[in-house]
């Protein structure tokens, strides 16, 4: 009997457990600046990030907050927050010392080492001009936005670092939402409520997103026009850089709210072609645009082609676009559809929470309209998190068995994945609109074996976006493309955890870098993070 119980314990479900602020010492709370006028930017923020800003091997966290704008003057100053991971389960607020408080009406964050100096930098998007914080390497950052030329005024949402021209430098895509200022806030009211509610984005004009090419000298060139990106004004939220046609050039999938989504296929030579309609990812049934918010990409069924995911608003169902090759996708949400029928999704990511080798899916939800419950039956403002396990052919909703936190409701927005306790399984950080963030510790994901990789590019872009990692465990060969961006307003732990299941050995790991170089690793130690330097292979 004891053996049976032990076996059950070993194979028992993985859970996510809340790390309370008393434990983590993360006491920061998002202020959504909610006003009687219900200005739209109040309800869409904000994001969060896992990043190791001090290169101590522990994932730190960053949160974005609201701030002064044309419609909001905070009574007391609001700050973004950088918390240093103390390596013992607690965090210390180092925002002021680091100089990354923001001070604008913040939306999202994208962390990456844009200047390849070995220290991760921060790009913070805002309603208003964005901020590029360059990491000085000594625990402080410098605002280099103006010098870099990436302020991108207007209303930016998600930012995505990737290398569109494969020149080894990280370029930047900045999603732009609608044209907005406080005078553009139409009166959206409900006669029975006698109050304003947040207007649907359908009422606002779209704006083109921006693409910045990294020149390599600390500046960026706005190539939105010549790349073709600016030809397509949208109401863009989530964006993910991935390679949908396996041609080695990173494409962009961009979710639009109340407009067709964009699939920008990278044609090479700095040009993109938008093919969302023909690819079948632009619209829902009957040509109805949906309210796309969070996105991600992964090869969930292991067929070698990148599939796409979009979280939409309630009653629209979320989309899981299976890549049928030749730039054609079919929406096959399977069990995800009924589970998300009444939900509105934002932060999300495909990741292998149980280290069995395949990508699972975590979703963060919350309705943007805080008065929705009085207007639409059964739809709630605060909504539950969802976890789907990959069954090989689709996804199964395992939320109910994955921890008490899945029984709670939140005003979820951003979501980042990272192993903050370095125990080899991916934890989750969510940022909630007008609420404290949520740090979730993965309990039990590391019961399966794993190998953690820190990729250090030497010729390729510093984030190794576009790298293809292949690992062989017995007869099973798995492949993962390193995507850029994804989720919603958030940024993930840059390390890769490769799940090995119950196998006691990973036979080989191969990394095909965006530069074309390949590193092949053998005799890889299990259950450890290893550093892999491009061209030099493994360095433990």
């Amino acid at each position: 009997m004891r053996i049976v119980i032990l076996v059950l314990l070993i194979v028992g479900g993985v859970t996510f457990e809340e790390v309370p602020p008393q434990t983590s010492k993360i006491t920061w709370t998002h202020n959504n600046a909610q006003s009687a006028d219900r200005q739209l930017p109040e309800t869409v923020g904000a994001g969060c990030a896992f990043l190791d800003y001090d290169n101590d091997g522990w994932m730190d966290v960053y949160f974005v907050n609201s701030g002064p704008s044309d419609f909001f003057a905070p009574i007391t100053p609001l700050k973004n927050a950088l918390y240093r991971n103390n390596g013992n389960g607690t965090f210390t607020d180092v925002t002021d010392r680091a100089g990354v408080a923001g001070g604008k009406f913040g939306m999202g964050v994208a962390a990456a080492d844009f200047d390849a100096d070995g220290f991760v930098d921060l790009y913070v998007t805002n309603y208003g001009a964005n901020i590029l914080y360059r990491n000085n390497g000594n625990g402080t950052f410098t605002d280099v936005t103006d010098k870099a030329g990436v302020a991108s005024p207007g209303w930016s949402t998600c930012a995505t670092w990737f290398d569109f021209d494969n020149d080894g430098k990280l370029d930047l895509f900045v999603s732009s939402f609608v044209f907005y200022d406080k005078s553009q806030n139409p009166l959206c009211t409900d006669a029975t409520l006698q109050r304003r509610y947040y207007c649907v984005p359908r009422l606002f004009k779209p704006t083109p997103s921006r693409l910045y090419r990294n020149t390599g000298n600390g500046t960026f060139a706005d190539v939105s026009r010549e790349s073709g990106i600016a030809d397509h004004p949208g109401k863009s939220f989530g964006a993910v850089a991935t390679d949908v046609n396996n041609d080695g050039l990173m494409d962009l999938f961009v979710a639009n709210d109340t407009m067709p989504n964009f699939l920008f296929v990278n044609k090479g030579g700095g040009k993109f072609e938008e093919i969302g309609l023909g690819a079948g990812v632009a619209y829902g049934e009957a040509g109805r645009p949906r309210s796309g918010m969070g996105v991600d990409a992964a090869d969930y069924d292991g067929d070698g082609w990148q599939d796409l995911f979009v979280a939409n608003i309630d009653h629209e169902f979320f989309s899981l676009y299976h890549n049928d090759k030749e730039l054609i996708f079919t929406d096959q949400p399977g069990e995800i559809a009924p589970s998300t029928h009444l939900l509105s999704g934002w932060g999300l990511k495909f990741f292998d929470y149980d280290n069995d080798g395949d990508p699972d899916l975590f979703l963060v939800n919350g309705h943007p309209d805080d008065m929705i419950e009085s207007r639409i039956p059964r739809v709630r403002h605060r909504e539950p998190l969802l976890l789907f396990e990959n069954t090989g052919r689709g996804f199964k909703d395992v939320s109910a068995n994955s921890g008490a936190v899945f029984g709670k409701i939140f005003s979820g927005r951003g979501m980042a994945v990272g192993d903050f306790d370095n125990d080899g399984d991916a934890d989750v950080l969510t940022s909630n609109n007008g609420e404290p963030p949520l740090l979730l510790r993965n309990q039990g994901g590391n019961k399966n074996n794993w190998v953690g990789l820190s990729l250090v590019a030497t010729k390729s872009n510093s984030a190794a976006v576009g790298a293809v990692i292949t690992w062989q465990v017995g007869a099973v060969k798995r492949t993962r493309l390193r995507t850029g961006g994804g989720s919603y307003l958030s940024s993930h732990d840059p390390r890769e955890i490769l799940g090995a299941g119950a196998a006691t050995k990973v036979d080989s790991i191969e990394i095909r870098w965006p530069s074309g170089a390949t590193d092949r690793l053998t005799n890889v130690p299990l259950n450890k993070y290893i550093k892999v330097v491009e061209g030099a292979g493994q360095s433990r």
Binding site: G278, A286, A337, H341
Partner: protein
């Protein structure tokens, strides 16, 4: 079937006995009523009231031919017996023979020229024959200048609806809605709801059906209509609840199976939707929608070859089924058989030029064929049609009023 006893004059004792029998019938004590009636009819086989009462019992038992014979015999025995004529008229309406009902009702109206109830029923009978003007005259006569006769107003609403006058229909129905809040007639509430559903007055229909179900709980036709009202309101969850209740009462009911399948399909609960739709497909003469919905399930399960077979079946049953044609086009697009897709979609557009889904699939097709201009043109049409509120393929199959009176 109404129980109209009054009129021919007989001895007080006979009348008392027949009224007792009528009470038994009202109380649904049919065996005792039949026993008593056979005693009466043994003594006097042509007793018109007894014949009329026995006809009522047979109608209740759905033995309509026998009921007709009995009512006719009663009328033959006593031509001025308007109660029997009314019952005969109701019977003809139930049998969908309104012209015969008109004949009887005109006779009744000659006997009772101020009876507004008869005028309304005569209006209904005329309406059923398509004689809108005659129907309208009867309803207006019944109203006598006052707007308090719900039956007449409902008739006028139906006439407006038949003429395509939606605004007028809505006005009449709104007025009827205010008159029937305390109605004790589930049949009338159902009739009102059925018409209200046709003009999109879904809340009014729902309220009427809920009241009808209070008066006659578990009546399958009312439940089906209530489920449809919830569907029309876009509340799939409430619709599902109602259809599940209906399925519990009538597990073999095809409309219940189709509607439950449909509502589950729209919630993307494909496995269970398939289960109910397949049950329905096994009925003697399945509705074409069943194959269409099963095809959609197959499409969602990525089995387009099977989906095409099912859509073809739907089209065989109903060649003008535009949605099935669109679905065929969509499956052929998925299978990358673009010429066949084009053929089906163009047929669909001919059948229903206002359906955005057809134009969207054409846009998708042209985009695949790299004909950007035509793709954009089709998408512009989609936008235009959606702005007009076109589109939708919801099944709405309401059964006739189960007990018209």
């Amino acid at each position: 079937m109404a129980l109209v006893v009054v009129q021919p004059v007989y001895a007080q004792a006979d009348v008392a006995r027949l009224e007792q029998i009528a009470t038994l019938i009202r109380d649904n004590k049919i065996i005792q009523a039949e026993k008593d009636l056979s005693t009466v009819l043994r003594a006097n086989p042509n007793q018109p009231i007894a014949l009329n009462l026995l006809g009522t019992i047979r109608a209740k038992q759905n033995r309509l031919a026998e009921a007709e014979t009995l009512f006719t015999k009663a009328v033959d025995q006593q031509p001025r017996y308007s109660g029997a004529r009314m019952n005969l008229a109701f019977l003809y309406l139930q049998k969908r023979e309104p012209a015969k009902a008109v004949v009887q009702l005109k006779e009744v109206l000659l006997l009772e020229p101020t009876n507004t109830e008869v005028m309304v029923v005569l209006g209904d009978a005329h309406l059923a024959t398509g004689a809108l003007e005659e129907a309208e005259r009867q309803y207006l006569d019944a109203l006598e200048g006052r707007l308090d006769n719900a039956g007449a107003l409902l008739g006028l609403a139906q006439i407006s609806r038949a003429k395509g006058e939606i605004k007028e229909t809505t006005l009449y129905l709104t007025r009827v809605g205010t008159l029937i809040t305390d109605s004790k007639s589930p049949e009338f509430l159902y009739k009102f709801a059925s018409i209200a559903l046709q003009v999109g007055m879904n809340d009014a229909a729902k309220a009427a059906l809920e009241n009808a179900l209070k008066l006659r709980p578990n009546e399958p036709a009312y439940l089906l209509a209530l489920g449809v009202a919830w569907l029309r309101k876009g509340d799939l969850f409430e619709a599902e609840k109602v259809f599940r209740h209906l399925i519990q009462l009538q597990p073999a009911s095809e409309p219940a199976q189709v509607h439950l399948g449909y509502v589950l399909l729209n919630q993307k609960k494909y496995d269970e939707a398939q289960l109910w739709l397949e049950k329905s497909a096994r009925s003697a003469s399945p509705m074409p929608e069943v194959f269409y919905y099963l095809g959609l399930v197959a499409q969602e399960q990525n089995d387009d070859a099977k989906a095409i077979q099912l859509f073809e079946k739907a089209v065989q049953k109903l060649p003008n089924y535009a949605h099935a044609r669109i679905a065929l086009g969509s499956s052929y697009i998925k299978l990358r058989n673009y010429p066949r897709a084009k053929e089906e979609l163009e047929t669909a557009v001919k059948l229903d030029p206002e359906e955005p889904k057809a134009h969207y699939n054409l846009a998708l097709l042209y985009a695949r064929l790299k004909d950007t201009a035509r793709a954009q043109e089709e998408m512009r049409l989609v936008e235009k049609l959606k702005a007009k509120g076109a589109g939708g393929d919801g099944v709405v199959v309401l059964p006739p009023n189960p007990n018209p009176r």
